[in-house]
Symmetry: C2
Amino acid sequence: MVESLVMAQRTAFSELERAAVYRAIAERRDVRRGFVDCPLPEDLLQRLLAAAHSAPSVGLMQPSRFIVIRNIETRTAVHKIFQEANSVAAATYDGARSEQYAALKLEGILEAPQNICIVCNTQSERGHQLGRHTMPETAAYSTVCAIQNLWLAARAEGVGVGWVSILDPIRLRTILKIPDHILPVAYLCIGYVDQFASEPELERAGWEKRVPLESAICYDVYSENPKS
Amino acid sequence: MVESLVMAQRTAFSELERAAVYRAIAERRDVRRGFVDCPLPEDLLQRLLAAAHSAPSVGLMQPSRFIVIRNIETRTAVHKIFQEANSVAAATYDGARSEQYAALKLEGILEAPQNICIVCNTQSERGHQLGRHTMPETAAYSTVCAIQNLWLAARAEGVGVGWVSILDPIRLRTILKIPDHILPVAYLCIGYVDQFASEPELERAGWEKRVPLESAICYDVYSENPKS
């Protein structure tokens, strides 16, 4: 057992490499401001998409498709549906919370020179249904794994990514000509940024605080942690 | 613009660090075999859970909870429901595909000394519904981002992770005492492994082939790529 453990530990990355992976995880931010008005070079964009594309997928289904949006008319149309959805959302808050919401910057659709809509073909026959009989939602989850790969690779490249979910998916489908059998999973604003904040913007703005790790862990069976 | 681009590029990681992040993304595998019979040290497990916990979440909701399962009775019960779900799934295939399915190794529930069930409190008031008015599914997606963080950190540590979705979620809830308002998102087998394969196991076994990146990308509007 000791011998096989020693062998197993040889598969670990070097200390420097491990630190780099943890750094990307720790310093990744949901970026909505500070985008630089300069498009990403094509080779960099392709590296990020390749990172997304090599994510795990249920049954090796690879259901994710990436719509790269650069043209300003399309981004303007998406920005308009953001504004409408955001007005509806804003109206649900009262008092101080309402003022706080109004002051938040929640997207960078027009400032980021490119946006990416990531969609999922949940109906694809690829993978031959393996792993999807009992939990079909794993098709969409595979696409989310791709998004997180892209997000971390982007951080390493000094590229900011912001996920905008304040959009009516039906109207988004119309703008991007997404057919009914394809599920829009995420709409991302992406580009070079002037800086990465040291903490999440919603924490800095006083909207919500992070929960301590220990309150998110339980053992052997589910239990509510009083701190969570 | 050139000046702000130069400033922006200063936020990028060093070449070595970038390579480490891409290496984790490229060499991560869905691992179902070769687990070493030696539990993960507690500090390593905590680093992996911390990586998961620092994932992005809609509205800073942090809805993910991690059930670490070590005890063999619980893993045996989960393995039993895997076997039942797997028999049902196996019966849906015919001919050569059926033989191929039967030969696949699809989980390491008993071999991996620990399993982790990752669940999502989709009903949590944390985050005050920010970002969830139009796309409430982003709560569960936040949990998937946490899973992918853990998966990549694990690869860097030389730790294998396998996602098992061939489980009836209702029976999984019973075994792990997961209440109705909490959504089971993923069941992971995790532990040291003797090696990481150079390609996905399902590809090696001839179950499915990877699609080329270019067939997964389109521009400005959705389009079906003939290669996809």
